[in-house]
Symmetry: C2
């Protein structure tokens, strides 16, 4: 087998940033510097500005020299949330991937690393196939990243543990706020297709509550996932039962909840007089679902001629993915997946997606490893909450609790009178 040609390496970050995505970037730089750059296989280590946009851009400014950054600065960047190189929402199609390949040719790139979700894995796959067809020697690696935790083959994905930690901490504090003033509190959590992040709210309880009736669970009393068809009637009945018994109710709901036909719930809750001049439902922002559910509950639970209950909704928004304090496990693993991609490249792998595998979940002995999967096994498709993590229509199981708890780091102890 002839020797693989030497050339430059390029690294990009794509999609919604996470709090630890720069750990993967720095892990890649470290891994390349320790391996392929030392052996002379990799000449320059370049970063793409705003993902593949930086590579397809003609002229100056799309690529930066990452090897020129000193270790102290790299470490500081690793500890900083959000994509230091900038990110992009572009999902390259065939023609776009052709331009990516042109960018590789133009810049003598022989190693292509893309940190992102299933779309990024797909970009790697297409580019890799195009390069092979064109007999341009190029090695393509996908490094996993997404707070949604929805990549196939992965036990979990870097970015998720820190976001899950934020969601758990938020529900811990908010549960006490709700208890102190009473009423119904709805928290809308990110994750349009997969419910892992919403499910992480359950960690706020301090213990698994599999099988307990909603009012007997510590808050959050109710958890609604996109994997479970959402019925507004059942929801109202659930909330009413908890509120009647406790005078309060904390609810975690995924932004992606859908009814049994797959239709999103937010628009269903908007009243008909909130349509625009063209008759379209007005969904002006990400807060529509929270406000819609709050309105719906308030109306549904106000007795005829009686006082409306206190109902509040918060939509957690972007802070979930960029909060500066992270999960220690996440920090370590996000660095490791980057380093592992460089190692796979050094070992001669032609293309792969790095995956996270859990090797031990014994109490106080959580361990994980990086391994490889084919790009096609991760590309495009979405992983959902498995059945064993879902308890009925409004909760998660002990199995989910055991799965998620080791990822988020120590949680503070909340004491009550």
């Amino acid at each position: 087998m002839p020797e693989f040609v030497s050339g430059n390496a390029v690294i990009g970050q794509s999609g919604g940033p996470t709090a630890v995505i720069n750990q993967s970037l720095v892990g890649l730089v470290e891994g390349l510097q320790a391996g392929l750059a030392t052996s002379g296989k990799v000449k320059r280590i370049l970063g793409m500005r705003h993902g593949v946009r930086g590579l397809v851009k003609e002229g100056e400014g799309g690529l930066v020299d990452l090897a020129a950054i000193d270790t102290a600065k790299l470490e500081a960047i690793a500890a900083t949330p959000s994509a230091a190189l900038g990110s992009t929402r572009d999902k390259p199609d065939d023609a776009y991937c052709e331009r990516i390949l042109d960018g590789c040719r133009r810049n003598d790139i022989r190693y292509f690393f893309y940190i992102g979700g299933n779309d990024s894995a797909d970009t790697c796959r297409i580019v890799s196939e195009k390069a092979a067809a064109a007999r341009y020697e190029l090695r393509c690696f996908h490094v996993p990243k997404t707070i949604d935790n929805d990549l196939l083959e992965n036990d979990h994905t870097p970015g998720f543990p820190s976001a899950a930690r934020y969601v758990a901490l938020a529900h811990m504090g908010d549960a006490l706020d709700n208890a102190s003033l009473g009423g119904i509190k709805i928290n809308v959590v990110m994750g349009r297709n997969a419910g892992f992040l919403t499910a992480a709210a359950a960690l706020a309880r301090g213990a698994a509550t599999d099988g307990a009736a909603p009012a007997d669970r510590p808050a959050p009393h109710l958890i609604y996932l996109p994997e479970v068809p959402f019925s507004t009637d059942a929801f109202l009945a659930d909330v009413e039962a908890v509120y009647a018994q406790l005078g309060r109710c904390q609810i975690a709901v995924s932004e992606g909840i859908r009814d049994e036909t797959g239709a999103e719930i937010g628009p269903k809750l908007m009243r008909s007089d909130e349509r625009d001049a063209h008759g379209n439902v007005q969904l002006s922002g990400s807060d529509a679902l929270g406000d819609g559910l709050a309105d719906f509950v308030k109306k549904g639970l106000t007795p005829a001629g009686g006082k409306a209950p206190r109902v509040r909704a918060d939509t957690f928004g972007y802070l979930q993915r960029c909060w500066p304090y992270t999960s220690p496990v996440d920090v370590e693993e996000a660095r490791a997946v980057g380093r592992h991609a460089a190692e796979l490249a050094a070992k001669g792998d032609a293309s792969a997606s790095v995956i996270m595998v859990r090797t031990s979940n014994a109490p106080d002995a959580y361990r994980s490893e990086c391994r490889r999967a084919d790009l096609a096994a991760v590309a495009r498709r979405t992983r959902h909450m498995p059945a064993e993590f879902i308890a009925g229509s409004n909760d998660v199981t002990q199995a989910f609790h055991a799965y998620c708890l080791p990822l988020v780091g120590d949680l503070p102890k909340m004491e009550r009178l």
Copy 2:
């Protein structure tokens, strides 16, 4: 002067909870146990469930015995956010205060402590005056608490530093998220009448930027306070200028912004077809302002026939006041104000509001003290951002930065390429 009678002490928590309000509760219990309880002046230390509601309630369950709680549990409660006794939004009028006085008589209460904002100070004032008029010996103390930081006589109020820390951290992470994907990001911060908490977003910049043009400031580029009349036209021009230059713009805006007539901005931004059947503007939840501003900016900055800019809004909501991680200065001061109230009572003060005074703001030598003020000096009225903290129509000054920075604790360093 005849000796003051001995009897029971009662403590309550009122209004929106904070992350450190239980420090004040525990400080009071400690202070009473070290002083008046030791000397026999205070027999029982009682807690009111849900503020004065617990005291006016007939029968069981409205009061709890705080002296029965061991020190380890008290410390754990102190470190837990939100009101452990429960809170209330009741703002007692004259008749309600009469019932509070009855509750004191019924429970042999001679020391009344209320942790809260200016309404709680006013409750203390009215109850104190009623007791004097009725010749019922009662000493009444207000202990300051509010994330809004809007109490007169106080340099700042317990609860504000931790909330300010949350707002600063949120803007730090979110600024990087905004930089990585570009576009316009609007963050709506709590504080309906006072802009201190919104202003704390400026700490995310790492340094004061007094006098810099918006696009030359690190994010947040624009800060809008309720103290400064808000013009939608000027706002759009501000955003457009930053966005044109940087391709992004991060904005911190108070939920309480008003136009020059004092009218709230949220309803002004709602379109006419979003009125209900009675013609009333629909403001379904707390997110209306953020969504309204986002819509307004998107429309205003979309070129004719061109592509709309990416505009997103987050409404920070309740997490600002209940996030489990706090400012160390806030923890210490919230404990101190509680202890100080017990000490004032032990020294024979008949009624007072504890106030926070800054005694040193030398670099790395911030110091504060608790002192007393008359209840009437704090009751009811609202403190606003002073003129020297406000820079033009969309920023805060170096003086605000110097004021706020020592309160929030160390902030992480963010590094960029």
